[in-house]
Point group: C2
Chain length 244, copies 2
Amino acid sequence: MKTPTLYTVLSPSLLNLYEVNNTIVVVIDILRATSTIATVLYNGGRAVIPVDSVERCIQLGKELECITAGERDGQIAPGLQYGNSSFEYPREFVENKILVLTTTNGTRLLHMALAKGAKEIITGSFLNLSSVCEHLVEMKKNVILACAGWKDKVNLEDTLFAGAVVDKVKDHFSINCDSSHMAQNLYNGARSDLYDFMKRNNASHYQRLTNYGLEKDIKHCLTPDLANVLPEYINGKLIHLNHQ
Amino acid sequence: MKTPTLYTVLSPSLLNLYEVNNTIVVVIDILRATSTIATVLYNGGRAVIPVDSVERCIQLGKELECITAGERDGQIAPGLQYGNSSFEYPREFVENKILVLTTTNGTRLLHMALAKGAKEIITGSFLNLSSVCEHLVEMKKNVILACAGWKDKVNLEDTLFAGAVVDKVKDHFSINCDSSHMAQNLYNGARSDLYDFMKRNNASHYQRLTNYGLEKDIKHCLTPDLANVLPEYINGKLIHLNHQ
């Protein structure tokens, strides 16, 4: 059997260079959409519905009587109830609930992957790193690790996560992709203390969020396997497959 | 005085996200356009005229009675005289001559930067690393390190060079750019043996060129300061400023 391929796409602007059709796309938006998604589903949330605008978020929230959440430029968007921090979503709050989420970068990328015919879309974060890797190895399909970045610019934390995945699954894939090797090298140089690496390298997102006092949030989002679920996008919703 | 900014753009597809106007753009195409340009000018060539098509290259070659050179997919393009290897351009061959060069990625990026209103365009390669860095520090202007990549995909060697520049000039610039920090980290992990790093990481360009038996060429293109000139794009030609 042919070894499946793996590519890392460092920015949504580069997705059109890759064959998305028939591929598993892992959407990566570490700070903080895909970390929040993992947390909500891990804590028993029924589904996260990603939408691309605040207006749509408010509208769906009313229709489905569910939690509305989302940020613009790192702050709770006007008209929505909650933000994009894992700490806002403990089990006692989200269990059996549906959350409608709009974010600056992650949601848009998910919809791009969908439009380009991805076979399967899952979301990845350090919080569910092992679940993602085990799934990719098991599926034996071509994979694209798609980093959301920040307004189409490449960012450190999404690249670091892609590198962590490459590091774990590389023996199971044919990786003819410089971005993947770059990400893996970056991750291996940073893995002993990802938070310190972000800080030392003056990551743009680190600055953006610490301006809002969110150091604790960043540390949480860089910790592996605190919410080991597999959020998969099915019929417009992200659900944890094993809960079906 | 305000500290000038420095950004690294990992692919031509991302250039539109940056403010190019009034900026010094360093075009980077290590394997091998910008290495060849440095070599030709270092060895006394009068100018290198970068063009974006083989047809234009042939036409200009006739008009100006000069050397035509260029490759498509790593081989000398049909109708042209020479390829894209530094070893083809010793002093006894190129001194006082003009070379018209068309390449797969570098020329296109140069024309993009020009169209977007760059204040100054220079070309960078390991062969002229120090000249580029000294110039950037001296000019005290905003800088974009623009990697040509391979058909818009990010590649290792152009990123490594951007990292080498960042490493050398970082104290003179305000660098709020994750791609620059990534490149610098990558370079610092690789600098002890860049060739070995390319080989170990299975760089896509490494494979492409070693298929044509060009290991020696790759090693040459990864060696700092073998051709320390400053190629600047002026009125359609790349010339070595200190020769004016």
